[in-house]
Symmetry: C3
Subunit: 385 residues, 3 copies
């Protein structure tokens, strides 16, 4: 009898104990995962600020094309986000969370905005939208091959913040597209900026600088975020200082365009390694990227535009192309246990796919002509002045 | 004896078990609720960015009235937030959290800024403050009737993001107030913008676009936020694309004002349904709202201003009034199990109360005159140039 | 035998119970601390927006010096953050979290930007960087003495949001440095702004206003954040209203510079007491700070500049110096159980150290000369127009 009571007491205690503590645990885990997704959504909002206010205003440096640049940004984002979600929604997401999917769509929109930067001011507003429709499927294809290794072809690539698949892909796509989308006349017109358009451009640049850590760390595990964030800021500090020094050293005076653009090169380049580099390595990568980018703007751009017979309006080659590729290669030095073969394969696939897709898309878009007034809001906007 | 020991052991175990697990649970729940409130505060900050930077700069489109528009925004926010908290603090909050109260106050400030948009440039700085003092009590009254159903008169209305009680209420209040606050002379002066003021206006517009999901989802439960956020962005994408198409279709060329304003109509309209609509429905609502709003700006505004003998400086009828009402009505189609009678009653109460309160407030404010120089900083600001 | 079983059952239950509930607790606590640090990082991003977009654009009020002001901001931040982390990394951090360290570095950068505001437009770009190198070690020294009470000299000071150690220290350092960095010629040139530079300045001001609560509450415990946030907004609302009234009362018309600057004085002054004041007290502190600051700009600044034979370009005396000291003293009235002696000692140490360090640093920086063209981008930037 006592035995029974004892057993009953023991069992009921056991039951009660596990129910009580188990219940506490369950509630917690559900709530925790909701809380973590809301923290992701905060980063999604930061990225959205980068897309519209950051990329948008960075492109307002073209003196007479500000309203067009901002409207194009609005349209590129509004076309690409739903398109990405719709395409990926056809079974490719494999149970990812709502916000995770959305952030992946924002990454695609960022890459698209980079591509558009090469063509800015020379195509019509609906051609930007067409560009979005053509770009996103190719971007998703490259993402499936290189990031998700969907076809078991590339292997594990280090590129959490998208140095390769977002920045380099977008830039190379844009340059390739520019080949069919630059006329002789357009190459002879110089793109003007003024003190005011420079200030708006620096505004965009600062928005990008401020929120860049949220871009890189958008999808990393919660416990890795603090270290990652500091690393991204170290890289940006490095490229900002290097840009000032390189700009003065090469040009004699500072170019506001160098500051607005190349100061961000550290963010571009650290995308492949921010979750592995030491703070010091992050800053060194930033310094090198800032120097490369400034040299690109100050020396390389003119030669490249002659060579490819293009205009790269925003200099995406020098802000996103070269620093992106440099960042992807830097992983070979910085990341312990990296699959070097996979990393190089990933870069090569990205380059080849971007060139082919860009050439093809540029050709298609060119069938719809060009703006009459280049680099000028008058082409499509009602008079304001 | 053994029995006693047994009972004692059992009891102490029970006690210990529940204390230990209970303690873990308690710590967790307290922390979790703090964490959730800090997440709310993040959204409160996003909304504050919308109020000052968003609404503020959207109104900078008036070429010579930029400093006044921004100062008016500062004053309207600074008067309305403490006032709302003070009035509601007199026993009406019923145990809501600190940040929840503050967000409700921000909602009131948003509605007030919308109302002020109709009068922008024609009243003096202290009249904006007087407007705030008159508006907030009426806003709270409408909120008590329609949102809280405090008088058990309306029933359950679907309007979490404030299509009806924030946007439509503010717009209609502003239009009604404009009737006493628009002179014949003022109706003959055209409101000028230029390329620069357009860029500032697009800046404000983009700030609103970026943070809009935090406005709608500010007070929804944590687990509903991810879905809600994507829905709001779908609606905004829809209205942005529709605005471009409608603007070109109606005007031949794009109007920067259409883009800056009507692109946001999706955010206005989705406020009543973002927590119920599918992503596709959200985008459709956005497309329709963008089209309605653009038609409003391009066609309807001139006729309305003649009919009511008013000037609606920022076109709040077309950005907040019509899309807000459309959004409230769209809930009838979209929300399963909606109390249709309550929804229509809620809309009607809001419209009637806004008209009466607006007429009355406009009359009172008009007793304090008007600015000598309309739509011009010179009226109240020291020369800068 | 039964006894043994009983004991075994009791022990195993005890073990099991504590393991189960202990496990739940452990998982939770690790995750919770990660989640809390990510919430801190959100505030770190808000502060970064204040540093670059806020302080940066606030300084764009100088008509022809916009690109320089923004570039200087970029460089000051990029030099000071890694420097602070490097110096403090030499054993002084004592186990603080990654993000907590970073936020402390941001506080140092904020104080540096305030100091730079006094010298804006009269030193070369590399002199701003030199300023950063000199400032940060002194700032850290003051922080160690006054905030950490590292030398057991001062005692417990109420200054969580840095009224004393961030705002007053930076302002006084800047004014002291200006003594060696202002020539007679520079004192005769008036600093011009225009409608456009005013708008950019108001943009910076609004960014600071919006994110200020995240600055003050950056490192307070999670449960104290909601109350703190509302308090900071109450103080800002108070100073904004007071600024408008004082500006009109003193000058007859509104000065856009008053609005852009003095509206923020509530944020400066509440830094010492936001975690102790009632909402009403917070608003009163804001009102007084706004009035003091506006009187400073409208009346005191000219006299001070003559007296000290300096130019205080951004009027940091009036935005950060006086309101900061007022805030530090206000704690004596507002904070229950305050160690008044420590509070006064903390203020005095800060003032003395800032004067000495500022004089010394100014002297060193002056050895590297001055810009040829003052308050003008042409001094160091490529022509844009």
């Amino acid at each position: 009898m006592k035995n029974h009571i004892m057993k009953f007491a023991a069992l009921s205690l056991l039951l009660l104990g596990s129910v009580v503590s188990g219940f506490a645990q369950e509630v917690t885990n559900t709530q925790i995962s909701s809380i973590l997704e809301v923290q992701q959504y905060n980063r999604a909002i930061h990225i959205m600020a980068m897309l519209l206010l950051g990329f948008g205003f960075l492109m307002v440096f073209v003196k007479k094309y500000g309203r067009s640049a901002l409207t194009a940004t609005f349209l590129l984002v509004s076309v690409s986000l739903p398109l990405y979600l719709a395409v990926k929604g056809m079974g490719i997401f494999e149970g990812k969370g709502e916000i995770e999917q959305f952030i992946l769509a924002e990454f695609g929109a960022a890459s698209l905005l980079i591509a558009a930067g090469a063509l800015l001011g020379r195509i019509k507003m609906y051609q930007y939208m067409l560009l979005g429709l053509l770009f996103i499927p190719f971007y998703i294809l490259n993402e499936m091959i290189v990031v998700d290794d969907h076809f078991h072809f590339v292997g594990q690539v280090a590129d959490t913040g998208g140095s390769i698949v977002i920045h380099a892909f977008g830039a190379i796509f844009g340059i390739a597209a520019a080949i069919s989308l630059t006329t002789k006349q357009q190459r002879e017109v110089s793109i003007l900026s003024d003190a005011n358009s420079d200030k708006f451009s620096l505004l965009g640049s600062m928005v990008l600088w401020v929120f860049w850590p949220s871009f890189c760390a958008a999808l990393v595990p919660v416990e890795a975020i603090p270290y990652s964030v500091v690393n991204v800021f170290m890289a940006l500090s490095g490229s900002t200082i290097a840009t000032y020094i390189a700009s003065v050293a090469i040009r004699g005076k500072i170019s506001a365009a160098d500051i607005a653009n190349a100061a961000l090169a550290g963010g571009v380049a650290i995308g492949a390694t921010f979750d592995h580099a030491s703070h010091f390595e992050a800053m060194v990568i930033g310094v090198i990227a800032g120097a490369i980018s400034t040299m690109g703007f100050a020396i390389f751009q003119e030669k490249q535009e002659k060579f490819h017979k293009i205009v790269d309006t925003c200099g995406v080659t020098n802000l996103h192309g070269l620093p992106g590729l440099f960042g992807g290669l830097a992983a070979i030095v910085v990341v312990d246990g990296l699959d070097v073969g996979a990393q190089i394969k990933g870069i090569m696939v990205t380059v080849v796919l971007a060139v082919v897709a860009g050439l093809l898309s540029g050709k298609i878009i060119s069938l719809f002509g060009s703006t009459k007034e280049i680099y000028n809001d008058i082409a499509e906007f009602e008079d304001a002045d």
